[in-house]
């Protein structure tokens, strides 16, 4: 079964990218619908198989690592593959109705989307450091292409700023890879993890990788490129970028940290990254509060939410194994629930802007009365984002609180609690604007139901994750067990 699932997972997005490039927007949309069904089924199948039988290494081309490239198909990877399938499908379905097919350049949306999707799958599964680099670049360039699509000046500026940041970040990572290859003579992550105990890696490796990848993940104060890029792109694109793309670089960093953090890490690096993350939570939330445009609020909120991810480093370094596990679980759940909630939020924000015809927060007055459905999706997503129960965001916050308390690092507790309140500050600013009554006439355009249902579905998933969190937590802990299928 796996012998077909894994090639299917890699092949479908790439094949669709090729097909969609050759046709116009409408036919591309048709192809993509088929592709979405295939991808979701394959991702589900893979997830179920790994949940059932445990993970494995897949040797691409039949060449085993370290000579060849292996894919690490473990519980965490397939969980993210499934997450990607869900979020990307939602964004793609939304885009199919949201984007204007009369604009010629929109036909490039589909091939770029499928390359992005392929890159994401590649990164989740990669077991090879250099392969991660190529996957990361595939993601970055596709994402930049998506931001720049349409080629208007503000989008170009955002895209260029994003591209330059991404390039510098990738080089930082590549330098780290060069040092690793020089030290070990291999690029296989599993091989390095085995060797790391006897041959401690140079501390600079982790520092370089951390800096480069933090730039790509938009860790404060390296977040300067994110709000413009995520705020200016079309809503489905923003959803993809905030939900998945920034997570890819974080994922690589987390994998590196968990493989060689023990030897190459230090308390300074761990606490420093955590402190920057904490600063990101505070500054990002405050900036979000100060924005006048709806999508910029959501974009800055990503800066804040990304900050939490970096608590992984202090909470998993030099602490008891159970504490580190709690932290990993909390961070993974936070990543997943933020992906779902933020995608829902961007799509809902897109609908609201479409309905109101104005990107300003202050234009939302009356929305609660006439567009309750879109606002409700936004609200549900916001509940998870604020970490209020019952939601995936709450469970994640709970686990992180437990980890901080167990690690005795009480200073992160303040960040977690304050972060909730700060996020409420910018979220409720939007509700405040939309609850104002304007009069009994409905001045709004009503988006089609198909557009409104998608963010609602994502938001419901973000909430629902709070009830079934145990399941993904069990699966994502599954290590690689078997060999070739």
């Amino acid at each position: 079964m796996l012998a077909l699932l894994i090639p299917g997972l890699l092949f479908t997005p790439l094949a669709l990218a090729v097909l969609c490039l050759l046709v116009n927007f409408r036919i591309g949309r048709l192809f993509s619908w088929v592709g979405i069904i295939v991808q979701v089924l394959v991702a589900l199948g893979l997830w179920a198989t790994v949940a059932d039988q445990g993970g494995l290494y897949y040797d691409l081309g039949g060449w085993a690592a370290p000579l060849g490239i292996e894919l690490r198909v473990d519980g965490l990877a397939v969980t993210f593959v499934l997450l990607t399938a869900v979020v990307a499908s939602a964004a793609a379905l939304h885009a199919g109705a949201y984007l204007d097919p009369r604009k010629g350049y929109q036909s490039y949306f589909w091939p770029l989307l499928w390359f992005l999707w392929a890159g994401l799958n590649g990164v989740w599964l990669a077991g090879d450091l250099f392969n991660l680099y190529v996957g990361l670049e595939l993601i970055s360039l596709a994402a930049v292409g998506l931001v720049a699509l349409g080629g208007e000046a503000p989008a170009l500026r955002a895209a260029l700023r994003y591209l330059y940041a991404a390039l510098l970040g990738s080089l930082g990572y590549l330098l780290a890879v060069a040092l690793v290859y020089g030290s070990y003579g291999t690029l296989s992550l599993s091989g390095i993890a085995e060797l790391a105990a006897d041959h401690p890696p140079a501390p600079l490796i982790l520092v370089l990788a951390a800096l480069g990848l933090a730039l790509k993940t938009a860790l404060f104060p390296l977040h300067f490129w994110l709000p413009a890029a995520h705020g200016i792109a079309k809503s489905p694109v923003s959803a993809l970028l905030s939900a998945l793309v920034v997570k890819a670089s974080f994922y690589i960093m987390a994998r590196l940290w968990l493989e060689m953090g023990e030897q190459a890490g230090s308390i300074w690096l761990a606490q420093g990254l955590g402190a920057l993350g904490a600063a990101g939570v505070v500054v990002g939330s405050w900036q979000a509060f100060r924005q006048s445009r709806l999508k910029m609020v959501v974009a800055y909120s990503s800066v804040a939410q990304i900050g939490y991810l970096f608590l992984l480093f202090p909470l998993s370094w030099g602490v008891a194994t159970t504490t580190a596990e709690l932290a990993q679980q909390g961070i993974t759940l936070h990543l997943i629930s933020h992906a779902l909630a933020k995608a829902a939020m961007f799509l809902a924000a897109g609908n609201l802007i479409l309905a109101v015809g104005n990107p300003q927060v202050s234009a939302l007055a009356g929305v609660s009365r006439f567009l309750p459905f879109s606002l409700f999706s936004f609200g549900l997503a916001a509940v998870s984002l604020m970490g209020l129960p019952p939601s995936g965001g709450f469970v994640a916050k709970w686990l992180l609180l437990q980890a901080s308390l167990a690690a005795g690092q009480w200073w992160w507790i303040g960040v977690l609690l304050l972060g909730s309140l700060l996020s409420a500050l910018y979220v409720f600013r939007i509700f405040r604007a939309s609850f104002l009554e304007t009069g009994s006439d409905d001045p709004f355009y009503h988006p089609p139901r198909s557009l409104e249902v998608i963010p609602m579905a994502l938001a419901v998933m973000a909430i629902g994750l709070g009830f079934v969190a145990n399941l993904p937590l069990t699966v994502m802990a599954l290590p690689v067990g078997g060999g070739v299928p």
């Binding site: 250099f130 080629g151 000046a153 500026r157 591209l163 330059y164 080089l171 590549l174 060069a178």
Partner: protein, 100 residues
């Protein structure tokens, strides 16, 4: 000094040079050149560090070839975007211009 040490030294210097250039210049084209210089330094390091006893290792060389193509693709994309930005805004950097 062996040739490999020379590679590594040159790589390190190019990296530092490119890094400083990338951050100090605001002209988009110069920034891009700086990125390419830093990239070349990284590739030199990748090849140099892998062969301490002067016997060539095909793997890093293949990696570098791949890396060059990737860097080339990124450079080309940056150039296209940059030229369009220049024609729309009349600027060679990202400060100011429409929509800032």
């Amino acid at each position: 000094m062996t040739p490999v040490q020379l590679y590594v030294l040159a790589g390190v210097l190019l990296c530092g040079l490119g890094f400083a250039g990338f951050l100090l210049t605001s002209h988009l084209l110069r920034k891009l050149m700086a990125f390419n210089i830093m990239g070349s330094g990284t590739f030199l390091l990748l090849v140099g560090l892998a062969q301490p006893n002067n016997t060539p290792d095909p793997v890093p060389q293949a990696l570098v070839l791949t890396g060059i193509v990737v860097a080339l693709a990124a450079t080309a994309l940056a150039l296209v975007l940059m030229r369009r930005w220049y024609h729309l805004s009349g600027r060679t950097d990202l400060q100011g211009g429409p929509g800032d």
